[in-house]
């Protein structure tokens, strides 16, 4: 039983797109950085770090990412670069990798490097001095949980640990014991009913359409109109006369395709966040063909005009078959018909729950995550659900707080929870781990 001195717990939400980390009791995470990392095979590292020219980005000090020999051997010796600053600096042969595959951790070395970055470079703490509350996917498996437990206690020597489901934390942050949490993240969208603080596993629904997918749709659509997004590393702006600039293209032939795509996505994502909003009704090509354009200035000075895409791209969340009409997205056209839109996901999820609680669930639909914070999404979802739900149901879609609170609602729920006085008795302590093993997590954090 953990009963240590009162030190702040650390709360970490490693999402599919970004990792949020900070201290329990605070209003927002201290650090928000990508959940992907740069990776260079060790034999290329010396060459890549030889101080090559890289305009537009201040080189950082070389920080070693020391790992044990076994994992080096197993992974064929890689050097990993973690965090916005490291990833913002182009390197030859650097691939961009995710620790997740289909929503499940597939590369624990990358997870370790992300946690290391959060602890030692962002929060500047020693993990063995702080209890850890980790948010986990709503349908996390027991095996994944136990692996997480082992990592935290064996590698990081954490004094205590707690794992909490994303949807439960969002529900907790909103003060509701029972709700349906619609979590629109970067990598996927999840609908998870929570009843009396527990996720109803059989009713959890997941769709691969998340924020990143929408960003890719926007990129392809712009490309089909002749607009190429230039990564920031690929040009330099030269002042040819006071106030007048000329763009000079730079060549970096050893840049990986994955890094180029990552860099383009960063810009396309910003376009999406600036101009996109959910349409009031299902997107219709003819109705939107003549709407006014919105301007957006790209980093290279090029101005793009965006019209129908402002509404068409977000509507993919509601009508996935729209993907088939976006040039360049043909590879997703095959699976698109089998993916359900957001309103269908919610209704099917609720219908898998006990009849007695459905009314309450329809009345407490919570939005969470960055993609669910999109303008007008709440209004559109509420409208669609009113039309498609049973007549008797009173539909209420709630987007509590401001956009920041929605985006970080999982982390905020964890922050509130771990700072409660009564929470001190709920930690899974290191001594309990040593006595009962990793499987005890199921008893301590049901």
């Amino acid at each position: 039983m953990y009963g240590g001195d009162e030190v702040s717990a650390i709360v970490i939400d490693l999402g599919s797109h970004t990792c949020k980390a900070g201290y329990a009791g605070e209003d927002a995470p201290k650090a928000v950085f990508p959940s992907v990392v740069g990776a260079i095979d060790q034999m290329d590292v010396d060459e890549a770090d030889n101080g090559e020219k890289n305009p537009g980005s201040a080189p950082e000090s070389n920080n070693n990412n020391v790992r044990n020999a076994d994992s080096d051997k197993a992974k064929g010796k890689r050097k990993l670069y973690v965090g916005s600053q490291s990833l913002g600096y182009r390197r030859d042969h650097m691939e961009v990798l995710s620790p997740f595959k289909d929503g499940v951790v597939a590369d624990w070395d990358i997870v370790d490097s992300i946690w290391d970055h959060a602890f030692r470079e962002c929060l500047l703490i020693d993990p063995k001095e702080h209890p850890m509350l980790l948010a986990e996917p709503s349908s996390n498996s027991q095996q994944q949980r136990e692996r997480t437990v082992e990592h935290m206690f064996e590698k990081y020597k954490a004094p205590a640990l707690f794992l909490a489901k994303n949807a439960v934390l969002t529900s907790f942050a909103s003060g509701r014991a029972t709700s349906v949490v619609v979590d629109g993240g970067g990598g996927s969208t999840t609908v998870a009913p929570v009843h009396d603080g527990y996720v109803l596993q059989k009713a959890v629904a997941t769709s691969p359409i998340g924020g990143e997918f929408l960003t890719d749709c926007l990129m392809k659509s712009l490309e089909s109109k002749g607009i190429m997004i230039k990564p920031r590393y690929s040009f330099r702006r030269k002042e040819i006369r006071p106030g007048e600039f000329q763009t000079v293209d730079l060549e970096f032939p050893n840049t990986t395709e994955s890094y180029k795509l990552f860099s383009q996505r960063v810009i396309a994502s910003d376009i999406k966040e600036c101009v996109c909003r959910a349409p009031d009704t299902p997107y219709d090509e003819s109705a939107y063909s003549n709407i006014p354009m919105t301007s957006y200035e790209l980093p290279d000075g090029q101005t793009v005009e965006i019209g129908a895409d402002r509404f068409k791209i977000p509507d993919v969340l509601f009508n996935p078959s729209l993907v088939q009409s976006i040039p360049g997205m043909e590879s997703f056209a095959e699976i698109a018909p089998s993916v359900r839109g957001l309103p269908q996901m919610v209704i099917e999820s609720i219908n898998k729950c006990d009849v007695d609680i459905r009314r309450e669930l329809f009345n407490s639909i919570l939005l969470a995550g960055g993609t669910a914070s999109m303008q007008q999404l709440k209004e559109r979802l509420e409208k669609d659900l009113l039309e498609e739900s049973p007549q008797a149901a009173r539909v209420k879609v709630l987007a509590s707080g401001n956009a920041t609170e929605r985006r970080f609602s999982v982390w905020i729920g964890g922050s509130i929870l771990a700072s409660l006085g009564s929470f001190q008795q709920m930690w899974f302590s290191k001594s309990e781990y040593e006595e009962h093993g990793a499987s005890y997590i199921q008893r301590k954090c049901p």
């Binding site: 039983m1 953990y2 014991a177 009564s422 008795q425 709920m426 302590s429 309990e432 008893r443």
Partner: protein, 123 residues
């Protein structure tokens, strides 16, 4: 084979709302299967009656939601030798008092968890 213990909740203070039983439970853990917890409180108090509730789940415990809670010991059963609860199931027991103010409960007073263990080891 370990002898089951009889443990007086709150030690000499007994069971009363507003006391930090979270801290008490941490100091008196681990509890073992078949241990007996004794809740001792005045049976005919004119100031504040006490009671012992078992909350249904972890969420109720965290949020101090008494809906669905089971009254174990009522206001008169804590007198004399006190009200006894034997920890005979390998599940968390979420004990709480319904008296006292809500903030105390949220802060971890007036309640505690007992998770009986089968192990004979001590930590």
């Amino acid at each position: 084979e370990r002898e089951p213990r009889t443990i007086l909740v709150g030690d000499s203070q007994g069971w009363q709302a507003g006391t930090n039983y979270t801290q008490w439970a941490i100091q008196n853990s681990p509890f073992h299967i078949n241990d007996t917890l004794v809740f001792k409180y005045p049976g005919n108090s004119t100031t504040l009656a006490q009671s012992v509730y078992l909350l249904p789940n972890q969420w109720s415990y965290i949020t101090c939601e008494f809906r669905g809670a089971k009254l174990l010991g009522n206001a008169t059963e804590g007198d004399g030798e006190g009200f006894k609860v034997e920890l005979n199931q390998l599940t968390p027991y979420y004990f709480a008092s319904a008296e006292g103010n809500f903030y105390d409960c949220i802060a971890g007073l007036s309640k505690f968890i007992a998770v009986p263990s089968t192990s004979s080891g001590s930590s």
